[in-house]
Symmetry: C2
Subunit: 279 residues, 2 copies
C-alpha cells in the first residue's frame, strides 16, 4: 500500500517506521513544509521521498495527517476535496475542532478521526521510534461519520501496529485528554518555570536533580509548535481542569500555612488513590 | 564491619543490600518498630536479624538512621548519648532541623548528616533495590561539625556505593531540595487529586493514561508517613516555592483566558530552558 504522511516528526515519523516494519507500506511518501525536516526524514529512511501535497494525494492509497493540529485543520478540507477512493486519518491530540471542520464535507466519510495515545517530549524526524505504539491505546472518534471501508482499514492498521482501540465522541475525547494528558503538560511547563525562576544556581539543579524531579519536569521539554494549538483547541476543558488543579494546590498550601498536618496527610492519602488506577 | 540500620524500608533496605553486595558489611542488624517490616526485612535478607536499639548500638561499628525524618530527630540524640567510638549517619531528605537538634550535643562529631539523592514512590522493605544509589549524588551537610574519622568513613562508604559527593550547609540543602524534589511531590499529589476529582470515569483514566501522565503523577503514590514530616520540617522553603508555582500556573491560566497565545508560546519556550540543565 502506498502511504502519504504529512508531517514527518515524532508521530508521523514513528508511524512511518512502524508501517514499514510491519509490511503495511510498500511506499511511504512524505509531505513536509520544513526543508530541514524533509531532508532528515529521507536521510533517516522514514520516507522514500518528499513531494508536494497534491502529488502525494494523487499517488497514495492512504493519507495520514501528522502535522500540528492547527495545520491539520487547514489541510484536511483541502485533502478531502481531492480524494476519491483514498482513506485519510489524522493522529492529533484534540478531535472536536477537526471533526467539526469537516462535518459537512461531502467526502467526510473518507476521513477517520484518531488519536494514538503515545508521545515523548522530543520532536522532529530524529525523535521517531519504530516501536512507539506497541501495546498502547488508540482512540477513534465519531466513527459513524466514517465510511465503513475507511473505518475498517484504519482499525486493521492499528491492529497491525498492536494498538487496542477505544471509541468515543470527539467532545468526550477532548475532555478526557484534558484531564489526563494536557494538564500534565501545563503542570510540567509551570514547574520548570518555577524552578528556573527560583533556583538561580543551575549547577545545583543539575547535580541534585533526582529521578522524581526529572520525571515530573520531563514534559516541559515539549515544543510550543505542537502544544500551543492543542491548548487553543481544548481551551475550555483545560481551563476547567487547570482551575481545579490550582484549587488542589491551594489545599496543600493552606495545610502548610495553618500547620494542619493531619489534613496534609489526608490530602496525600487521597492522592495515593491513583494507585487504584495506575499500577 | 558491623552495621546497624534503623528503619529497614526503601532507603534503609536499599542501603543494606548495597553495603552487603559491596562487602562493606559483615553483619547487618536491623532496628524496626514495625513488626511486619522487621519480619519482611529478615525474610528478604536485608538484615541478619532485628534487635532493640540499645543492643544494636552496643554491637555496631556504624549506625545508619533511615527512619522517617521526624523519628530520626527523636532517635539521634538518644543514639549519640550511647555511642563512643561508633559513627552515625542519617539519610533523610531535610537536614537543618536534624543538625540543629544535635548542634550542642557533646558527641555531635560522631554524626555525619547526609542525603543520598535517590528514591522511588514505593516504600517498605520489599521496595529496596541493591543498585539504588549507583551514579547518584549524595549530599553531606555541615561537614566541619563531624569528626575527621567519622566524615572519612562516610565518604569512603558513599564512594564504594559509587555515589559522587556534594557538600553544603544544611540550610542551603533544604532550600535546594524544596525546589527540585519536594515541590515535584506536591505538584504530583495535587495532580492526582485533580484527576481523581474531575475524572469520574476511572476506566477512561486507566485506558487513556499515556506515559506522560504516568510520569507526572508517579510521585503521587509516595506515602504520607515519609512525606508529611518532610513537608513539616521544610515548611517555609516549600511554601515559598509553592507560591511561585501557583503564580506560574496562573500565567498559563491567564494566557488561556485572554486567548493570548503568543504569551502562551513564550511561557512554553521559557520552560523548554530546562533542557539546558536536564539533558
Amino acid at each position: 500500500m502506498k502511504i502519504a504522511i504529512t508531517g514527518t516528526g515524532l508521530i508521523g515519523g514513528s508511524m512511518a517506521l512502524a508501517l514499514r516494519a510491519k509490511g503495511v507500506a510498500s511506499h511511504i511518501i512524505g509531505v513536509e513544509n520544513n526543508h530541514d525536516n524533509a531532508v532528515k526524514a529521507v536521510g533517516l529512511g522514514l520516507v522514500d521521498k518528499c513531494v508536494e501535497l497534491d502529488e502525494a494525494i494523487a499517488t497514495a492509497d492512504l493519507i495520514i495527517l501528522a502535522t500540528p493540529i492547527n495545520t491539520a485543520e487547514l489541510l484536511l478540507p483541502i485533502i478531502l476535496d481531492k480524494v476519491n477512493r483514498q482513506v485519510v486519518f489524522d493522529v492529533g491530540s484534540t478531535k472536536k475542532s477537526l471533526c467539526d471542520a469537516v462535518a459537512q464535507h461531502p467526502k467526510r466519510g473518507r476521513f477517520v478521526a484518531t488519536h494514538p495515545m503515545w508521545g515523548t517530549e522530543n520532536s522532529g524526524p530524529s525523535a521517531a521510534i519504530s516501536t512507539a505504539f506497541v501495546q498502547k491505546a488508540s482512540v477513534i472518534c465519531n466513527k459513524n461519520d466514517s465510511d465503513e471501508d475507511a473505518l475498517q482499514l484504519v482499525e486493521k492498521i492499528y491492529g497491525i501496529l498492536q494498538m487496542h482501540l477505544l471509541y468515543m465522541e470527539a467532545g468526550a475525547h477532548d475532555m478526557h485528554v484534558a484531564y489526563i494528558s494536557h494538564i500534565s503538560h501545563i503542570t510540567s511547563f509551570a514547574l520548570a518555570n518555577t524552578v528556573l525562576e527560583k533556583e538561580k544556581e543551575e549547577d545545583a539543579i543539575f547535580e541534585l536533580a533526582s529521578a522524581g524531579f526529572e520525571s515530573t519536569v520531563r514534559l516541559a521539554k515539549s515544543n510550543a509548535a505542537m502544544w500551543v494549538p492543542i491548548f487553543m483547541q481544548n481551551r475550555e476543558n483545560i481551563l476547567d481542569v487547570l482551575n481545579e488543579h490550582i484549587t488542589q494546590l491551594r489545599k496543600f498550601k493552606s495545610s502548610l500555612e495553618k500547620e494542619n498536618y493531619e489534613y496534609l496527610g489526608e490530602l496525600i492519602e487521597k492522592a495515593n488513590g491513583i494507585r487504584r488506577i495506575l499500577k
